[in-house]
C-alpha cells in the first residue's frame, strides 16, 4: 500500500517544532478564540501564532481560512508576500490545522476576505511582522527605519549595507503581540496583491498530482462504509451481523444507536459488506407532498421575525393607484459535490487525528471530541481539500463518521461516502416561498412594498456544540436546531440585511434610523421560519439567492407595470452609491438599451431573445453585484438558453483579479444551472434525488454563454466578500430576461421547459 504520511507529520509542524527555542505554537497560551466561541490554545493576539521566518528565508504563515477551490490559498499567500515584500514563492501557507493555526471559525459566508485582508488577523500579522523586521534591521544597521528599503526579504540602508530577514529572526520567535497600529501597505504600492498571478495549485491539479483528502493513506489504515437509514428519522430495529460473515476482510460491524457502519481491509470489501449487511429499520414519518409543498409551508407554525416594519403599509396601499401581487417559489437544491466526501481518522486512546475537508476545522474538533467522549485537547483536525464545496456538503458528516469507525476498531480508518450517502443526507439549500405586494403611485413610483417569506429549516452547520445539525449527530441521538414557533417582535437595533430578505429599494428604517439601500419608506419584511422535513444548511448564497430571486423579479414586475426601463426604474428607488455604481456599470458594459419590458413586437413563434437585469448588496454590505442576462427562448419547446452575461462587481480592493474572475464565472454558471434545472425531489417517504440521474446539473456539453466581468472599485473602501455575489443575482436576471423576450413571468424555479410553456400560455391569455 502506498502511504502518504504528509498530513500526519505536517510540514509546518516540522518547521516550527525544529525551532531551537522550542515549539512556537503548541499550547503556547490559553486564550479566547477571535470568534468568541471556545478556547483555542493558539493565541491570535500573538504574532508567532500567525507567522514565522525560517532560517532558509521561507515565511510560514498559518491561517484559519482554507482553500476548497475558491482560490484563497493563492490570495492569502499574495497577502503575506505583499506585506512582507517577498516573492510569493517564499511564502508557505498552512491552512486550518488545529494544532498549528489560529481558530478562525468556519471558512464560509464570503468572510475570508473581509476577515483576513483588511486590518485584522492575517493581514495585521503580516504588517506587524514587516514593522518588527524593520525595527530589528534599524538596530542592526544603526540607521533609522525611515532610511531602510526592503526588497524580497532583504532590508537595505542608505549606506548600502543590508541584512536578510533570516539573519534577523530566522527560526526564532518574534515574541510580540499583533500591533494594532501596524500599517498595511497601500493598495497603490501593491506589487504582488492585486495582480492576476496564477493559482498556486494549478500545475499539480492539472497533472493529477494534487493530494486531495481522498488520497491520504496512513500505515495500517482500514476502509469504512456507512449504512444510512432508508428515510428521515427511521431507527435501527435489528442489525444481522451474520449476513456479512462470509465477507472477506471484514473487520467489524459498528452500530451506535442508529449509526451503522462497516470496517474492512479494502475499499472493495467495505463496499461489499455495506451492500450485504442486513439491517431492519423502523420507518420514519410520512413526508409532506412535494406537489403542494409551498402551500404546506405557508400553513405551518413558524418562527416569525420582522427585518423592517413601517406599520403604515395598509394605509399607504389604500392610496395607491395600483397594487401588484405575486408569489415566488424556490425549491430545495443540493451542493452535490462531484466527489463523494471522504475523511481519514486515526483514533487512539491518547489522541485522535482527523484529516478532513471540513470548512470548519475547530468546530469539527470540538464535535469529534464530544462524539468520541474524549477531551478536546486530544483531538487534532487537519484540513485536506475535498471536492468543491459550496457550503456544507458531506465533509463534516464523513469526518465524524470516520472518527467513530476508527474509535470502534482502534485503527486508522478511511471512509468514503457512496453517491447516495452524499446526496440523500446532505444539508440542502432551503426551499422558500415569498409573497409580495406593492403599490404604485400615479406617477409610477413605488409608494409601499410588503413582503413575507416562508423558509424551511432543520439543522445547520454543527458549530462547536450541535452535532444533531447534521445526519451523524441525529443518528447518535442528538436533535437538530429547529425553529421554535413565535410571533414577530418589532424590529429593534441596527438595520441588518444578512439574508437579503429586504429588497435594495427599501429605506430600511428602524426607530427613525435608516440603513437600507433604497428610498421606499412604507416597507415591511416578515420572515416565517418553518420546520423542514429535510436537513438544510448554507448552500452558496444561502437564502440570499432565494430572496433576491423574488425581490429582483418582483421589482421587474413593478417596472413593467410602471411601463419604465428596468435600469432607470431601479435607479429611481436606490440611494446606495455602490449598488447604483454596479447597476450603471453593468448596463453600460452590456450596451443596455433603455426601454420597458417586454420587448415590443416580439414574435409568437420560433426563438426569441431578451435581456434582464438584477442587482444586490450582498448581505447588505458584503459585496455589490449587478448582472445583465441575455437569453434565447424557444417558444415551441420552452427551452431557455442564456447567451451572454455581463456582470459588474464591487468588492473593494481585489487580491487576485484572475482568481476573482474564475469565481465569478463559476458562480454565474452555477446560478444558471440552479435557475434552469436543479431541484431536489422526494416521494412520500424519502428524498429521491440520490445520484446524477435523479438530480440535474448542466454537464460539460452545455452550450455555455459568454461571461464578461467588469470591476468597480471605489477608493478607500475595505475588501468585501465576492464569491457569492454574482450567483445571487443570476436566477433573477435570467427570469427577467425571459419576461423581456416573451412577456411571460416565471415565478417558480427552476425554469423548466414545461413551466416556461405554461407561463407562455398564461401570458398569451392575458
Amino acid at each position: 500500500m502506498i502511504q502518504s504520511r504528509r498530513y500526519f507529520l505536517k510540514s509546518c509542524g516540522a518547521v516550527i517544532v525544529s525551532f531551537s527555542s522550542g515549539p512556537v505554537n503548541l499550547l503556547a497560551a490559553q486564550s479566547q478564540g477571535p470568534f468568541g466561541t471556545h478556547l483555542s490554545h493558539i493565541d491570535p493576539g500573538k504574532l508567532d501564532s500567525w507567522l514565522a521566518v525560517g532560517d532558509d528565508g521561507i515565511i510560514t504563515a498559518c491561517t484559519g481560512k482554507c482553500d476548497f477551490g475558491q482560490g484563497i490559498l493563492t490570495a492569502q499567500s499574495q497577502l503575506v508576500a505583499e506585506e512582507l515584500c517577498v516573492r510569493v514563492a517564499r511564502v508557505k501557507l498552512i491552512q486550518c490545522d488545529t494544532s498549528i493555526c489560529p481558530d478562525q471559525g468556519t471558512t464560509s459566508g464570503s468572510q475570508s476576505t473581509p476577515t483576513n485582508f483588511n486590518s485584522e488577523n492575517l493581514a495585521l500579522a503580516a504588517a506587524t511582522a514587516r514593522e518588527a523586521l524593520l525595527n530589528l534591521a534599524a538596530k542592526k544597521l544603526a540607521e533609522p527605519v525611515e532610511n531602510l528599503t526592503v526588497a524580497d526579504g532583504v532590508i537595505t540602508g542608505t549606506m548600502g549595507r543590508h541584512v536578510r530577514y533570516e539573519d534577523l529572526i530566522g527560526n526564532k520567535h518574534f515574541n510580540l503581540p499583533l500591533s494594532a497600529t501596524a500599517k498595511r501597505r497601500s493598495a497603490a504600492d501593491w506589487t504582488v496583491l492585486g495582480k492576476p498571478i496564477p493559482s498556486l495549485d494549478r500545475s499539480t491539479l492539472m497533472t493529477g498530482q494534487f493530494e486531495f483528502v481522498h488520497h491520504v493513506r496512513v500505515p495500517g489504515m482500514l476502509h469504512g462504509r456507512v449504512l444510512r437509514p432508508p428515510e428521515m428519522r427511521a431507527t435501527v430495529a435489528r442489525v444481522d451481523e451474520q449476513s456479512v460473515r462470509n465477507v472477506q476482510g471484514l473487520v467489524k460491524v459498528v452500530v451506535r444507536k442508529d449509526f451503522v457502519g462497516v470496517v474492512a481491509e479494502t475499499q472493495y470489501q467495505a463496499t461489499l459488506a455495506a451492500r450485504q449487511l442486513a439491517v431492519q429499520w423502523n420507518p420514519g414519518p410520512e413526508l409532506p407532498s412535494q406537489k403542494d409543498f409551498f402551500d404546506h409551508l405557508q400553513k405551518q407554525p413558524a418562527h416569525d421575525a420582522l427585518s423592517v416594519d413601517s406599520q403604515d403599509i395598509e394605509a399607504r396601499l389604500a392610496d395607491a393607484s395600483s397594487i401588484i401581487r405575486a408569489r415566488y417559489t424556490y425549491p430545495y437544491q443540493m451542493h452535490g459535490s462531484v466527489g463523494a466526501s471522504c475523511a481519514v481518522a486515526d483514533v487512539k486512546p491518547e489522541s485522535a487525528t482527523v484529516c478532513s475537508a471540513t470548512q470548519s476545522a475547530y468546530p469539527t474538533r470540538s464535535i469529534v471530541a464530544k462524539l468520541l467522549n474524549i477531551t478536546i485537547d486530544k483531538v487534532r483536525v487537519i484540513y485536506g481539500r475535498g471536492s468543491g464545496c459550496y457550503g456544507l456538503n458531506g465533509a463534516d458528516a464523513v469526518s465524524f463518521d470516520a472518527a467513530i469507525l476508527s474509535q470502534a476498531v482502534g485503527k486508522p480508518v478511511r471512509l468514503q461516502f457512496s453517491r447516495r450517502d452524499e446526496m440523500m443526507w446532505e444539508n440542502l439549500g432551503s426551499a422558500c416561498t415569498v409573497q409580495l405586494r406593492a403599490g404604485l403611485a400615479r406617477d409610477g413610483r413605488i409608494i409601499a412594498w410588503d413582503r413575507e417569506d416562508w423558509v424551511a429549516s432543520m439543522g445547520n452547520r454543527p458549530g462547536y456544540d450541535q452535532p444533531g445539525n447534521i445526519i451523524t449527530g441525529m443518528l447518535l441521538g442528538y436533535e437538530p436546531e429547529l425553529p421554535e414557533p413565535r410571533t414577530a417582535k418589532s424590529p429593534a437595533g441596527k438595520f441588518r440585511n444578512q439574508s437579503n430578505t429586504v429588497p435594495s429599494y427599501f429605506a430600511g428604517c428602524i426607530a427613525g434610523s435608516c440603513g437600507g439601500d433604497g428610498t421606499i419608506r412604507s416597507e415591511r419584511a416578515l420572515t416565517h421560519t418553518v420546520r423542514s422535513p429535510f436537513f438544510t444548511g448554507p448552500l452558496r448564497s444561502p437564502l440570499r439567492i432565494q430572496n433576491t430571486f423574488a425581490n429582483e423579479c418582483f421589482m421587474d414586475e413593478l417596472c413593467a407595470h410602471a411601463n419604465a426601463d428596468p435600469v432607470a426604474f431601479r435607479l429611481l428607488h436606490l440611494q446606495n452609491s455602490r449598488v447604483i455604481g454596479v447597476l450603471k456599470a453593468a448596463a453600460q458594459a452590456a450596451s443596455w438599451q433603455a426601454r420597458p419590458s417586454p420587448k415590443a413586437g416580439v414574435s409568437r413563434a420560433g426563438i426569441v431573445s431578451g435581456r434582464g437585469i438584477a442587482c444586490v448588496a450582498y448581505e447588505g454590505n458584503n459585496g455589490y453585484a449587478a448582472l445583465v442576462a441575455e437569453v434565447d427562448v424557444d417558444l415551441e419547446t420552452g427551452t431557455v438558453r442564456p447567451r451572454r452575461f455581463v456582470v459588474a462587481l464591487d468588492c473593494g480592493p481585489i487580491s487576485n483579479p484572475d482568481g476573482l474572475r474564475n469565481q465569478i464565472e463559476g458562480g454565474i454558471l452555477q446560478g444558471m444551472s440552479r435557475a434552469l434545472v436543479e431541484e431536489v425531489t422526494w416521494d412520500n417517504r424519502r428524498v429521491t434525488s440520490v445520484d446524477w440521474e435523479t438530480y440535474n446539473s448542466l454537464y460539460l456539453d452545455y452550450d455555455m454563454p459568454t461571461v464578461e466581468t467588469v470591476f468597480v472599485t471605489p477608493p478607500d473602501v475595505p475588501a468585501t466578500g465576492a464569491g457569492e455575489t454574482a450567483i445571487t443575482v443570476t436566477p433573477a436576471a435570467i427570469g427577467n430576461a425571459i419576461f423581456d423576450a416573451t412577456g411571460a413571468r416565471l415565478r417558480d424555479l427552476p425554469f423548466s421547459p414545461q413551466r416556461v410553456k405554461a407561463a407562455l400560455v398564461e401570458s398569451a391569455q392575458r
Binding site: T207, Q209, H215, S337, S387, G388, G666, L669, D701, M704
Partner: protein, 156 residues
C-alpha cells in the same frame, strides 16, 4: 478470491493481488497510489474516475480490474508532470481552467481522447464527447477555452 493481475499503467507494468471484481479505480488509488482518477459517483455518471485504456475513455469506477486485459492504461498523471506537462495540461494551466479540480481526469482525458481520434473535431463534437462529464464548480468556459487552445495548437 484474490488473483494476481498484471496491469500496464502509464508505461509501467504492475502486478497486483486483488479480487478481480474490484473496480479498477480502487486498485489504481489504493494499490498503485495514483491520484488522477477519483471516486465521484461509482456509477459512471460523472467522469471523475476517467482513464484511457487503449485509446478509449473508460470509467474506472465500474470496470472490474479482472476485465481490463492487456490494454495500456493512462491516467491524468500519465500524460505529464508539473515540470513537463502534456500540451493539453499546459493549456489548462495557462487558462487556469480549474476551481476545486476534482473532476479534471474526466475533462482532460475525454477531450484528449476525442482529439486523438479526430484532430479536427469541432467545438460541438468536443462538447458532445464531454456529455457525461460533470464539473460542479462550473469552470466550463475556461475548460472549453483550454481544450480549444490545445486543439488549435496540435493542428499546427
Amino acid at each position: 478470491m484474490r488473483e494476481k493481475i498484471t496491469l500496464h499503467v502509464n508505461g509501467q507494468q504492475h502486478v497486483v493481488e486483488v479480487d478481480p471484481e474490484t473496480p479498477l479505480l480502487f486498485v489504481l488509488n489504493d494499490e498503485l497510489g495514483l491520484r488522477g482518477p477519483r471516486f465521484g459517483c461509482g456509477m459512471a455518471q460523472c467522469g471523475a474516475c476517467t482513464v484511457i485504456i487503449g485509446g478509449q475513455v473508460v470509467r474506472s469506477c465500474v470496470l472490474p480490474v479482472g476485465a481490463v486485459g492487456q490494454g495500456e492504461i493512462t491516467t491524468l498523471e500519465g500524460l505529464g508532470t508539473p515540470e513537463h506537462p502534456h500540451p493539453i495540461q499546459q493549456a489548462f494551466i495557462e487558462e487556469g481552467a480549474a476551481q476545486c479540480g476534482f473532476c479534471l481526469s474526466g475533462v482532460i482525458l475525454t477531450a484528449k481522447a476525442v482529439l486523438d481520434v479526430n484532430p479536427d473535431a469541432t467545438d460541438q463534437e468536443i462538447r458532445d464527447a464531454l456529455g457525461g462529464v460533470l464539473c460542479r464548480c462550473f469552470t466550463h468556459i475556461r475548460m472549453l477555452r483550454a481544450i480549444r487552445k490545445y486543439a488549435e495548437a496540435r493542428r499546427i
